[in-house]
Amino acid sequence: MPNTNTEFKYKAREALKDEQLQQALVGVKQGLVNNRLDAIKVVPEFESFRNDAAAVKQHVLENLDLYLEEFEENAISSGAIVHWAKTAEDARQIILDICKQNNAKNIIKGKSMVSEEIRLNEALKNNGLDVVETDLGEYIVQLADEPPSHIIMPCIHKTLSQITQLFRKNHTDIHKADKNYSVADIVNEAREVMRRKFLSADIGIIGANFLIAETGSIVLVTNEGNGDLCSCLPKTQIITTSIEKVLPTLDDASLLLKVLARSATGQQITSYNTLLTGPKQDNDKDGPEEMHIVLVDNGRSKMLKTELREMLRCIRCGACLNHCPVYGSVGGHAYNSVYPGPMGSILSPAIEGLEKYYDLPNACTLNGRCESVCPVKIPLTKILRHLRNEQFKKRLNNKSTRFSLKLWSFFATRPKLYHRFNSLFINALNIYINILNRCSAIPVFSSWLKSRDFAPSQQKTFQQIWQSRKEND
């Protein structure tokens, strides 16, 4: 899928008009937000968990090389094969080579955002491999040939009737055209189709939520159980993951799991949390003969050098998406990036360039709701502001934006001038409004006033009112 992100404004406008999408987004804004609230209400120490979780992830970043080496050593001694991929292209090549060595044809996948990031499905398909996403949401967007629109709820933008149509088109052998499908019917049909895939696949590719340095294990968090079937049935297993996912110990994993599940789906714990260590052992009845772990960098070691560093604490819970008023209005696809919402507005420019994703750091009102719910306390608005500064420094903004920003900074850094100009401006505005007798036609602000009205003027500026009050006192 091409990813030229000059279209945010256009796509956002289209999304606002899309009634089905708007309906679906209500579920995000209400359902997921309330689920999280209910889940943390019963845990009075949740705030301390967040502090600890942030500290653990920060500590890992400050010693990332050491924990990666420890992880690698322990993973290798458990029998796993560890690969390092500097770029997305390297990662794809490594995985294609493993497929080739194993003469693989059929591949099943568990949900992995890293695999989306490296655009793995496309590469596998282009090399003649049959690849099926097994997470229900991912499977549905795969059938629709769309990218996921949410990092944990990939098909959040689709309605039941849209999904039923997709199934009718794709499952011609078992789908009953005359039947009125319920959610349960859809889930059952997917289960039936997928079961055959699970049992006949050559390779299972899954992601990892955490890597454990202490043991060389990976931790996989799911609700459906598809990731577990992917990891115990095929004879070869590939784990696509990234370098910042390492944690020092198993105890750290328990802590992170506590904040992850509650922040993501509002569960105390998800149905399945799995610790995988190495390939099949002697006499085991199932499990893969080979376990490959692909550690992807793809710009992360570079991020470590910059002010974007703290973004590497992200555990991909999606809470910042669910609480973002912009995401809640336009959905994930408007961002035209693998990672949408606040976290995506930082990660995508960081990974693929600020030029390519110019709009994303600006698709934010800096209201800070995202960082108030982030389980690892990433200062998202601070980083987004930093990215905007970078855009200005790199001269990425267009001329009129640069001019306005310069003009603003000229006044804002000269308080006396600013106040004088401001009172002049207010007076002019009042005269203008009085003549026209309405607020919506003020030039320059016309697009801002399209969806809201200007508050009636107080006749004076805040500073003037403040001064006169001080004098009266």
Partner: protein
């Protein structure tokens, strides 16, 4: 050295070297701070079986408590009868197989992976705090038996329930054996809320999870 191996070791050096340089140059390395909240010392506290039971039920699983292993069979019979299931129960664990055998239950240790309705496995431990079952993979406990069937029955020894997840890790470290390939922490049956936020059980794994505590 093959090209692939050469490439891999070069990329490894690049990535790790880059990180090392950054951390040292920017002086970012810091000692680890202690967590504010270390799990409260719960070792002396008794396990609250009622709390465990509530968590199991909250996770949409079912639970029954029996007094001795002899009563398992009757419990399983009732469960299968209620669900109207006549398929054989897949059991691999020889000890469990012997315990159940002879009580008139239809059991098998040679099942077809393509067609498996009910399985019965033993939990290694369980967590009171969340109602989670800890399944350790070994030749007697293949992981797929926890995920393939529609109905999963788990036998749990009451004495193996601990308060929290960190106690499981502690036990694992103290057992001094190498880690099993898989540890499944299972809390309720398989589920999905991918379609219109509607929770639907039995997405890919078991539709129903029944815990029998002895």
């Amino acid at each position: 050295m093959t090209d692939l191996m050469y490439l891999n070791s070069k990329q490894r050096t690049d990535i790790l070297g880059d990180i090392k340089l950054t951390l040292d140059d920017l002086g970012l390395r810091k000692e680890r701070k202690k967590n504010n909240l270390i799990d409260k010392n719960t070792a002396s506290k008794d396990i609250n079986i009622e709390k465990f039971k509530k968590c199991i039920i909250d996770a949409s699983a079912t639970i029954s408590i029996v007094n001795s292993p002899d009563n398992i069979s009757l419990e399983v019979k009732t469960f299968l009868h209620d669900k109207n299931i006549s398929s054989p129960i897949a059991i691999i664990d020889p000890q469990l197989f012997d315990e159940i055998d002879g009580h008139g239950l239809n059991i098998t240790n040679e099942y077809d992976r393509n067609d498996i309705t009910v399985s019965m496995t033993k939990a290694w431990m369980a967590i009171e705090e969340t109602g989670s079952l800890i399944m350790k993979s070994c030749p007697r406990n293949p992981t797929s038996l926890n995920f393939l069937p529609d109905y999963h029955i788990v036998i749990l020894d009451r004495n193996s329930i601990v308060h929290n997840m960190n106690q499981v890790w502690k036990e694992l470290r103290e057992s001094k054996k190498s880690l099993p390939r898989t540890i499944n922490i299972i809390t309720g049956p398989s589920r999905t809320a991918d379609i219109e936020h509607t929770i639907q059980l039995g997405a890919h794994g078991p539709r129903s999870l029944h815990v029998i505590v002895i």
